[in-house]
Amino acid sequence: MLDIVSDKMNNGLNIHTINTDKFKTNLINIYFKRPLLPQEVTFNALLPKVLQRGSKNYDTSQKIAKKLDYLYGSSLGADVGKKGERHITLYSLNTVGLKYIDDGDLLKESMELLNELLFEPLVEESGFKAEYVKQEKVNLENKIKGRLNDKNRYSYERCIEEMCRNENFRLYEHGLLKDIEAINEKNLFNHYKNAILTSPIDIVVVGSIPHEHVKKYMIDSLKLQQSNVIAIEDDKLISRQGSVYEVNEEMEINQGKLSLGYRTNISYKDTLYPALMLYSSILGGGPHSKLFTKVREERSLCYYVYSKIEKFKSLMLISSGIEVDKADETKQVIQQQLEEIKKGNITENELINGKKALITAIQALGDSPAAMAEYTYSQIVGNHIITPDELIKKINATDIDEVVAVSEKIQLDTIYFLKGSGKGGNS
């Protein structure tokens, strides 16, 4: 399904090409990998915001935006995220395929812009432009504070934060409010100089460009000069310590948000991992799942309820939006479903439906450039590569006993409840 060609260019730089002409676009994703650490998480989060403000030859974001618009709306974005205790920065360039437009230099010029942004920053007096840093610090602060605007996601992330309170995984990908103030144009620039040289880089390209051309494009257009590339620690399994941890938080909202955090004790490298995926699919992976059927359809307790695996951290989260006074009932029904699976009470249909849902999702990856790139990188980053076809085979081969075996390992760790006080304005 995915035809990936990978090339190790030098220490810490890999280029991966997925060559297909079924899309209208070419996607170039550049991933920088950093350790997720309190001392640098806020620097990592701020850096792409500042780099996007201007480069040596395009010293304002307006000049960059004008150029991108003119290049038939090429987009050049940046984002930060966590994969286990790794902090990943993704720079993503998306351009229209050359056969649809009358501009033969489109890709070349877009690549130049990407290079500018990453490797030719705007430097004033051995630091970034102070004004840009100052403004982006404010934007970052607003971004972090704005976390509570999306209550569903906030509750999910707060549960993880509480569960992993003694691990670096607790760190919010956009950084820490308290650390913003101490960042300035000089220390951020020093961080950049170090990070740009020493971070492991993966470039994933999805589009109609053959691998050899991709390689040449990247080497010719990007000023990659890596040295002393850092090693990033492998993921560790952490089991629950002590009894279940309960956290209640109150907010003036209409709907309560319940999130349950579990330790799976199963690594993605474990042979049992596909069974864990299946476990979560049967439990809360969609309308076919036990949670959807019991919590929503039978009891009308919620509109949404789902379970989700945090692959690299070996966690599972269950999340739902409910009436505040229904929290105990909901917890009880959820707990019952986990018990049912543990007892092996999984019907043949549930098993098949759980498998099919996973398999369809995996097969569908191939129809989205971004999803394909993301899947590819998720394999690379953990240094444990399973092709979609292999993964499908493994899921198909999983039986009920293995799903039950997963049950034996999973531990409830943290219950987080964002309590609505019912005063969230009128409607």
């Binding site: 079924k22 899309f23 209208k24 676009t25 304002t60 974001s61 307006q62 935006a65 991108l68 618009d69 038939y72 709306g73 229209v96 649809y100 437009i101 403004q135 404010v138 934007n139 607003n142 971004k143 972090i144 504070k145 704005g146 976390r147 509570l148 605007n149 209550k151 409010l177 907010m251 003036e252 909202i253 709907q255 969609g286 309308p287 076919h288 959807f292 009308s300 307790l301 919620c302 509109y303 949404y304 939006g321 409910i322 249909n349 098949i352 439906n353 099919k356 849902a357 398999i359 369809t360 097969q363 569908a364 191939g366 129809d367 989205s368 609505g420 969230g424 304005g425 009128n426 409607s427």
Partner: protein, 439 residues
């Protein structure tokens, strides 16, 4: 077989069309090399349709707010379980959505396509409403409504619409209210179903790496499409909507960190004799105009950004329906009022000094590229094609209309559209306690 080809030369796509004897319009867009198949079965019935009748009936029917959405939920109910159970063993994801104007049911699959398609066609045409199952759904929809009440992005939009429109039902929440949901009965649902789920009021669109002959022949077989059917003739009643806005300003307080705003202008009433194609053109002209003024590459955006008045969430868009329309300029800001004042000053000076043609050329190229990129997603094209079809528009044609827009036409829109008397500002402010939170 007698289907017609709708060609999209600029994007190298074709859509094949056939009208069945029962009145259903069927479309197929081949997507070679795609693993996914997609089908959408949609009716021209949305939250705006609250008062209607069949042409030859005397009785005018009025139904509670949120009924289209309620019906959408309930069609999944079947005598022995729910429609999800049909699709799950086939590995297909089935879902549905309701907006102001349409209700759409769709699935994506990677296997067993025709079995899934048959299921889709069947379950959408077989209502099974009982007092008990209607009652059960009220709890679920109430939680859905409460989820949206806590969603500031959603609230800022609906307040905006409430302020902009006096009468038009677009000012009402799509899901209705907890009260209107409470009043809804199975009889209401059947009335709506019998009126709007007639094949001649619906479309079916299929996309994927499939053979067109087979798509059409299977669809005909599933519909048992032998005899011609009388098309449904419906009358929909929308109240008269004044051309001015109801309120120029609306605010609300929610648990958010920074104020959110929605600013926009109500469209000038369209002359009745204007033909439908002008709707596509209106959309293309306004979207170009909005990007020329508000997009990241503009002086206005840069000025607001550098002053710390907006961030990257700032954007502009245009909503263009036959019976209503407005622009949207949205974002987060510590001072939305000042954003509005800055915009108004800027527009005044633009009106005086005119737009720049180089901006026009650049924005057009941007939007052409964006339109081409959309064709990567069969879901996006399917949904968009369906909603355009119900407005008698052809989405494949949009890129041609876009290319043909002239600079002078956009200049003219600048004069017409931005009228401060038709401007609305909706703000969601933080509650006192949520404005200063330490993380």
């Amino acid at each position: 077989m007698d289907y017609t080809e709708i060609r999209g030369e600029a994007v190298n796509e074709s859509i094949y069309n056939k009208r069945l004897n029962n009145g259903l319009e069927v479309f197929f867009m081949p997507k070679k090399g795609y693993s996914k198949q997609y089908a959408i079965f949609a009716t021209k019935f949305g939250s705006n349709d609250l008062k209607f009748k069949k042409l030859h009936d005397k009785e005018v029917i009025e139904v509670p707010e949120g009924i289209a959405h309620f019906l959408e939920h309930k069609l999944f109910e079947e005598p022995n379980g729910n429609a999800f159970d049909r699709f799950a063993p086939l590995g297909a994801n089935v879902n549905a959505y309701t907006n102001f104007n349409i209700t759409a049911y769709y699935f994506t699959s990677t296997d067993n396509f025709y079995e899934n398609l048959k299921n889709l066609i069947e379950f959408v045409q077989q209502p099974y409403f009982t007092d008990e199952n209607v009652e059960k759904e009220k709890g679920i929809i109430t939680q859905e409504i409460k989820m949206y009440q806590d969603n500031p992005q959603w609230r800022v939009i609906f307040n905006f619409l409430k302020a902009m429109y006096h009468q038009h039902p677009v000012r009402k929440d799509i899901a209705g209210t907890v009260e209107s949901i409470g009043k809804t009965t199975k009889e209401d649902l059947y009335k709506c179903f019998n009126t709007f789920y007639h094949p001649s009021n619906m479309i079916l669109l299929v996309s994927g790496d499939l053979k067109k002959e087979e798509v059409f022949s299977r669809v005909e077989e599933f519909f048992d499409d032998e005899k011609p059917m009388e098309p449904a003739k419906l009358v929909r009643y929308y109240p008269d909507e004044p051309s001015h806005v109801k309120n120029q300003y609306i605010e609300d307080n929610l648990y958010v960190s920074t104020p959110m705003f929605y600013l926009g202008y109500k469209r000038i009433p369209k002359a009745a004799e204007e033909n439908q194609i002008s709707l596509l053109k209106e959309e293309a002209m306004l979207k170009i105009l909005l990007d020329m003024i508000f997009h990241k590459a503009t002086d206005l955006y840069q000025g607001l950004y550098n002053e710390g008045l907006i961030d990257q969430s700032f954007y502009a868009d245009y909503v263009c329906e036959p019976d209503y329309g407005h622009s949207i300029i949205s974002g987060e800001s510590k001072d939305p009022q000042r954003v509005k004042e800055t915009i108004n000053k800027w527009i005044l000076s633009l009106k005086k000094n005119g737009l720049k043609e180089e901006d026009f050329i650049r924005v057009k190229r941007k939007q052409i590229g964006e339109n081409i990129s959309h064709y990567n997603s069969i879901e996006y094209v399917g949904n968009t094609f369906a909603s355009y079809h119900f407005k008698n528009l052809n989405f494949l044609d949009y890129i041609n209309i876009l290319k043909a827009v002239r600079f002078e036409e956009v200049q003219q829109q600048l004069k017409n559209h931005f009228n401060e008397e038709r401007q609305v500002l909706s703000i969601i402010k933080p509650l006192d306690r949520s404005s200063n939170i330490d993380n």
